[in-house]
Amino acid sequence: MSVRRIDITKCIGCENCWNICPMDVFRFDYIKKKSIIAYPENCQSCGQCYLHCLGHSLGFSDESTSYAITSTR
């Protein structure tokens, strides 16, 4: 939907995404030291995981996922 993986090998296991996400999108594998985009359907598109990803392993898709109701915010 919006958060996406660019390259799992770049995940350095900092846990930022798993700690920051308010929507419970992530899980963390403590054996392999990698985050998991477990529930992307609940991403609220705030992008904070992407901005805090120290290894630049996460990306962001910019496809529209729904349609405008009105012309104003």
Binding site: R5, E41, S45
Partner: protein, 625 residues
């Protein structure tokens, strides 16, 4: 594992979802339990600790990251050193907020707001630093061009979100994370704690406390977009379940919004997360409050009613809104630090994402009584504080004369509730819930995991959003539109909610959030039906005028498992001059259709819309007069 990047492999690179072990500790006791840790929760926890209590914080996510607080962009306080005038402000506030403003709470805010500003400053929340434009990281508001990551890394020391945990640590206040509270423990008409589950593992979590403070925020029906985080009307559900009155449901904040295009949302929302919380104030805390409210009505109410009804334009596109002192109030005194919002230019227009059904700030939630000034509920041992949680109605039925003060006001409410809760526990012994009660709560929490078949909570989320998002539900309401929507929600309540199925711990959280959202949807529709007038953010196209028969708060109470309304009479001094003729009494703005219904001349000094609601409804609906 893939070593070369292939975009098409995006999610297929992910490792399997691991099973999460329950936390080592699942049962807690404390003097004061603070549930939710945004502005209200943090200030409640510290104030209770300062009062000598043993405090524990529990949060659905992690303090600083879970709700709307981390997204605050303005901080306003009342400062008489720079000419803020309480008497003028209160006089203007009555008319500017259409005579529903709770002046008791407003006065309380003016007493404590400067102290809260200084407190948050000392905790590091309000340090001002260069914007993205000033630091060279901002290019044009397009996330593919702007260096958002570079800006975040350079300004990391200022990141407000880390300050929540730093402050809790400084005051030696322990906190439990990733735990959703699903019920309160009520025994002998007293709240003695709360029960929930650890979201990643689904382990049951039990908290016994002498006093409990709910600081859980509000909610919305959105699937994405405006970052309201995990707010899902959790405290409304707890309050209603335990027989407390819920107020203000007919007043929505108009964040019905636009598309959910995530790339644009990233740009628009990220700068707000990353740049300053701006210091505001000085131009609404005095006699200039009514013109300010009129200007806000021109921006916030009239065009939104019209555009919601008309739909998208033929050439809608993303515009960039220039930086200015916009968005909140700005002092005209050059020595006043309250200089307003000076963000980098933000993209705005067909981009912003939705938060359909978001509560009117500070106007909706658990009602504590007309004289309450600390958030003490009608249940022993239970306090409430903050936006969406304490329905204090401080700004009445609109946000016109209050913009920019939510973060400060929530902090004031948290401080007062925490102080009172902390002081209450010295002569109370720590209670214990009986096992049968805990078993009953446990059965209800885990019911969605026991079903063999049921409905996916994400499917239900999308269906609910589709029911509640149309303009005729939350923006331009009529008897017919509300009644027909209510029948859909009743069906949803009876046929879908009991069959929400949890196939993972994550699903269990979604099932409970859906249950809370559906209850809130029903309350919004019933309250909108009950208030047969237009006022503030509540616009009834079939009653497009103010009617002083509704000069009251409408509360919803659970009785015999049904929603019952009660009217709360306002204090006389809050009502303004009720003898004035209508045209002089109501001067904030004119609703579409109001002049015609009330046979008023068009007054150019009062904002109005040339748009006629008959454009919205090609049916037999008639305007009541």
């Amino acid at each position: 594992m893939n070593s070369s990047y292939k975009p098409e492999d995006s999610l297929s690179q992910e490792l399997p979802i691991p099973e999460v072990m329950p936390p080592e500790k699942t049962e807690y006791t404390c003097d004061v339990l603070v549930i939710g840790c945004g502005w209200a929760g943090l200030n409640a926890a510290v104030a209770a600790k300062e009062a000598g209590a043993d405090v524990l914080v529990v949060d659905k996510g992690i303090p600083g990251y879970s709700g709307l607080s981390s997204f605050s962009s303005s901080h306003q306080w009342f400062d008489s050193r720079f000419g803020d005038d309480l008497d003028a402000c209160l006089r203007e506030m009555t008319m500017a907020n259409e005579y529903l403003a709770n002046l008791g709470w407003y006065k309380e805010w003016t007493k404590y707001s400067e102290m809260i500003y200084e407190r948050l400053t000392s905790w590091g929340f309000l340090t001002q630093y260069p914007t993205g434009a000033d630091s060279g990281h901002y290019v044009d508001g397009d996330w593919r061009h702007d260096d958002l990551r570079g800006y975040r890394e350079e300004m990391m020391a200022y990141d407000r979100r880390t300050k929540w945990v730093e402050t809790l640590d400084r005051y030696k206040i322990p906190y439990v994370t990733r735990t959703m509270i699903c019920d309160l423990i009520e025994q002998d008409d007293r709240i003695i704690g709360a029960v929930g589950f650890h979201v990643p593992s689904a382990a049951m979590m039990t908290f016994h406390a002498k006093a409990t403070v709910l600081c859980m925020g509000g909610g919305s029906f959105k699937p994405s977009g405006f970052p309201t985080g995990c707010d899902s009307f959790d405290s409304d559900w707890l309050g209603y379940r335990h027989g407390l009155p819920i107020v203000g449901k007919e007043f929505d904040d108009f964040h019905f919004c636009t598309s959910f295009a995530p790339g644009n949302v990233l740009s628009c929302n990220s700068w707000t997360y990353l740049e300053n919380i701006w210091l505001c104030g000085g131009d609404i805390t005095n006699e200039r409050l009514l013109p300010r409210a009129q200007a806000e009505a021109k921006n916030l109410i009239l065009p939104r009613i019209e555009s919601a009804t008309r739909g998208v334009g033929a050439y809608t596109r993303t515009d960039v809104q220039p930086a200015s002192g916009r968005g909140s109030s700005v002092s005209k005194d050059p020595s006043d630090p309250r200089r307003g919002k000076w963000t980098s230019d933000l993209p705005k227009g067909n981009i912003y994402g939705a938060a359909v059904g978001m509560q009117l700030h500070l106007g909706s939630g658990i009602w504590c009584g007309i004289d309450d000034l600390e958030g003490k509920t009608g249940l022993g041992g239970l306090w409430v504080a903050g936006d969406g949680c304490n329905g204090s109605c401080v700004s009445g039925g609109s946000y016109l004369a209050a913009t920019g003060f939510t973060s400060n006001f929530c902090s004031v409410q948290g401080y007062l509730a925490g102080k009172a809760a902390g002081a209450s526990v010295s002569d109370v012994s720590l209670p214990t819930a009986n096992d049968r009660l805990l078993e009953e709560i446990k059965d209800e929490i885990y019911a969605p995991t026991k079903l063999q078949y049921g409905f996916d909570p994400n499917l239900a989320r999308d269906q609910l959003q589709a029911i509640m998002a149309p303009y005729w539900v939350t923006i331009v309401k009529t008897e017919r539109s509300l009644t027909s929507t209510l029948s859909l929600i009743e069906q949803f309540r009876d046929e879908i909610v009991p069959k929400l199925i949890a196939r993972s711990p994550h699903d269990l959280r979604l099932c409970h959030e859906m249950k809370h959202k559906v209850l809130c949807a029903e309350m919004k529709l019933r309250a909108s039906l009950e208030r047969k007038e237009s006022r503030g953010y509540h616009y009834r196209a079939d009653y497009p005028f103010r009617n002083d028969e509704y000069l009251c708060y409408l509360t919803i109470v659970r009785k015999d498992n049904k929603m019952q309304f009660q009217r709360v009479e306002l204090k006389d001094e809050w009502k303004g001059d009720t003898t004035l003729p209508y045209s002089k009494r109501y001067r904030t703005f004119r609703f579409p259709g109001e002049n015609e219904a009330m046979h008023l001349e068009n007054d150019p000094s009062i904002p109005s819309s040339g748009w006629n609601p008959s454009e919205a409804f090609h049916t037999e609906e008639t305007v009541k007069q």
